[in-house]
Amino acid sequence: MKGLHTIAILGAAFLTVFIEAQPGGVRHRLGVQVDLLPALVVYAALTADLATVTLLAVFGGLWFDSLSANPFGISILPLFVAGVVIQRNQELVLRDQAYARVVLGLLASSFVPVTTFLLMSGTSAKPIVNAGTLWQWLVMTIAGGLFTPVWFWCFGRLRRLFSYPTMPEHLYRRDRVIKRPRRI
């Protein structure tokens, strides 16, 4: 089940990168391409182990860079750092609460593009930075934050499809106590 979970997360990352590279869609309407990988990293960091987070950061980052003009491998480190920080503190996070997921999604979705930009400034790459960049960053942050609970919902549905249904607790128990009214 653990292996399947990891494969499902990696599959979701692959499909996410593919959908993000599709012409039209949200980009056409908002002028911004929303990145859902940071939100997926938040989900993985709160529900999976370090190996899964690492695999997601490495493969998700490489797939993203392979369809982009980004320097190859630049997206790995920001995704991984976001994932590891959340994973290390997952016991302190109210991970079952939707608002906690949204906040973590917001933080990760704002952190990843900024860090990628900072890393890129150390390379020969010259990305387009202009007045619209702030708008893009804002939309990416909000969309990433709002989409984080959706990842939890999607994987919850998927888990229910592949696991046995939980049986309701039986009424009969060996240590049951039968209370009868006292006879007068």
Binding site: P23, G73, T133, M140
Partner: protein
Amino acid sequence: MQKRKHLLVLGLVAVLAVVLLNLPAGAAARLKLALGSLFLPLFGLAGATGHTAGKLGDAVTPRSDLVRELETLRRENGELKVRVAEKEAIERENARLRDQLAWATQSGWKLRPARVIARDPANWWRTVFIDAGSHHGVAPDMPVLTSDGLVGRVASVGLLRSQVVLLGDPACRVAAMVKESGENGFVSPMPAHLADNRFVVLNYLTRAAAPKAGQAVVSSGVELKPGQTVLSSGQGGVFPNGLLIGQVVDTRTVGHGLYTEARVQLAVNLNAIEEVWVLLQ
């Protein structure tokens, strides 16, 4: 123990990232293309789905609409036939005159149609992928255009797909000229504070003394005006001359009054390109 494990993995990932970022450009490009080719089946599936949806749409189009469109196309076809005949006569005359002057003849363009299959998922680049690669004769630096004008140039080539850098990306600079004045400059992205992906800047245009305030006059004495046509100049060797880039929107003086730059609205809507032509020759 847990902290050490996290630090160890962080170190390993950092080393992997540093190694990948320091790969030679050729090796990194090949790795990118290899990894990106994993998406090819999905791109094919998306293309086939779009094609089927289009066919379904065609099936429900009313007959009256089709007849009207057929009439329009017939009329357009007739007009184009006349223009082709006219162009052929001009070409024959041109060839004859070139022959008389012993000038080298210009070979015709060889175009390869391609479909846009993906866009850059990152917001800070302007690149697209097309479904034509080295197998179809595409090579790096070949110009890419649509019937509306220039789109960009081929940046990297795989066997079955290529990455195209669009106009307005820092990696796509085009030697250009204003048709009406013959003034040369080069097209580059808009400055940071004037961001709009429909526009580019034609800069390093020479500046001459203007007879009236507010006029932008280039050294040839022609005033730069909104609506003037910007074409590729053919200098630089990548783009042939005469490819439409866009129209001048406005001008301003920069570089402490040393030269003029013009804001140019691109002829092609780069956000909506679906099919392009690669200029093979």
